[in-house]
């Protein structure tokens, strides 16, 4: 008789488990407010420093559309790096991971944590992006493209951070490892997101490239960003059971 396995489970069971993890994450977060406070404080502090140095009273206006998209994504990256890895690391540090390993399907657990990271990052973007535009006195030529870039980039940032956080959770020197591992994982995402944001601020596609037939350069770059999101999420779903269980 073949060995029974916990891997094949009905879809409804899987969704229920992922939803339970998502709800638990937010319940715990709303009680402790650790990640919310960390992300918001880091983002607002950085924003104030950037605006005081490079805002309307700082940098030459002509350089804004080149420099500012980089700064926006750096603020989002470092704020995410400060708060998101805690999700898995905290489970190991407080020894709650054992109970989770014995009760949750790994892929459902990953998706529940990812959904939590996504909503947290969406909240961060909803706070940071309008503030950034306001303090930098920026006009957005293509607001739709900016929203799409923030959505797709935020998804990739959450998926990449969740994957790396899951990998490093059981290791020593978690902070260093997160930086080392997240660099190659998140670099393509950041390059694409910065180019698209530049295009959204300046109008047209990514700078230096005119509109082409079909999707245009911006559309192609957005598709690449979505492909990146899909690839990282798929990699997470495939790798997580291996790194989570012995």
């Amino acid at each position: 008789m073949p060995a029974a396995s916990a891997v094949s489970r009905p879809a409804s069971t899987w969704v229920r488990e992922a939803a339970a993890v998502f709800a638990k994450e937010w319940r715990s977060e709303l009680r402790t407010r650790y990640a919310l406070n960390t992300l918001a404080l880091f983002a607002v502090n950085t924003l104030v420093v950037v605006s005081a140095s490079l805002g309307p009273l700082g940098a030459a206006p002509g350089r804004s559309s080149e420099t500012l998209p980089v700064l926006l994504w750096l603020i989002l990256l470092f704020a995410a790096a400060a708060g998101l890895p805690r999700s898995f690391v905290h489970e190991e540090e407080t020894q709650t991971a054992t109970a989770l390993r014995l009760a949750a399907t790994p892929s459902a657990l990953f998706c529940g944590k990812l959904a939590y990271a996504l909503t947290l990052l969406a909240a961060l973007e909803a706070l940071v992006a309008p503030l950034f535009l306001a303090v930098m006195n920026l006009d957005v030529a293509r607001p739709g493209l900016l929203v799409a870039t923030l959505a797709a980039g935020g998804f990739g940032l959450a998926a990449g951070s969740t994957l790396v956080a899951a990998i490093i959770a059981q290791a020593r020197g978690k902070g260093t490892l997160f930086a080392v591992l997240s660099f190659p994982v998140l670099l393509p995402l950041l390059l694409l997101a910065v180019e698209l944001t530049r295009g959204a601020f300046a109008g047209g596609g990514p700078p230096g490239q005119g509109e082409q037939g079909g999707l245009g350069e911006a559309g192609v770059a957005l598709m690449q960003l979505l492909l990146y999101d899909g690839a990282v999420t798929t990699a997470g779903l495939m790798l997580f059971p291996v790194v989570w269980n012995p």
Binding site: A20, T32, T94, A99, A103
Partner: protein
């Protein structure tokens, strides 16, 4: 077909340190396997291997329920574990912790409420504010939540007062031999660091020595 657990020549090293050097035993329904030995002899390591939380370097672990053998992933989901390093979410109450794991396991909240009542746990106190004895009772509630057939108990009476010991001994006796009115089938247990149990039939005493 009743559940049964057997393992043979289970070995596990941590680096150069050989913790388990070829351990074998078997347990059948209604039986308890006692695992004894000094500190560091590998009792907890053996239980973690049996639970599927640690992969042995070599050896076999066979566990089946209703005639169906289970791999490590399936075993992880089925067993009930009480262990000193098992912890719960400190910011959530005991009831919320059990409700979360009930949802993960697809069982109603009533079972968690029943166990909270039987173990005399305060449902609305954050877990971080529970005493060590109360946390041990919560570990028992968590382990029994999904009515597992195989219980792995590592220092199961740790930090419990006399009343707590009496409650969990009753629960263990019911697990091994449920009353005809109870819904569950008889289970089996592996107990590390046991106090004299006098519960169930002893399958053997596996002494891991020094």
């Amino acid at each position: 077909m009743p559940p049964a657990l057997s393992f043979a020549q289970v070995r596990r090293r941590f680096g150069r340190l050989a913790v388990l050097g070829g351990v074998s035993a078997s347990v059948a329904t209604g039986e308890v396997l006692l695992v004894t030995g000094r500190n560091g002899s590998g009792k907890s390591t053996l239980l973690r291997c049996l639970a599927g939380l640690l992969a042995p370097d070599s050896g076999t672990i066979d566990y089946s329920e209703d005639g169906a053998p289970m791999d490590a992933a399936a075993r992880r989901r089925r067993i009930g574990l009480v262990a000193p390093d098992l912890a719960f979410y400190g910011e959530l109450t005991a009831a919320e912790n059990l409700a979360f794991f009930s949802r993960l396991r697809g069982i109603g909240r009533e079972r968690g409420d029943e166990l909270l009542r039987r173990l005399e746990l305060p449902p609305d106190r954050p877990t971080a504010a529970l005493s060590s004895g109360m946390r041990q009772r919560l570990r028992w509630a968590w382990a029994l939540l999904h009515r597992p057939r195989l219980l792995l108990l590592d220092e199961p009476f740790q930090n419990l007062d006399a009343a707590g010991v009496a409650i969990v001994r009753r629960l263990l006796a019911e697990h091994l031999a449920p009353s005809p009115a109870a819904a569950g089938a008889p289970g089996l247990a592996v107990v590390a660091n046991p106090v004299p149990l006098e519960i169930g039939s002893v399958a053997g005493n596996l002494d891991l020595g020094a």
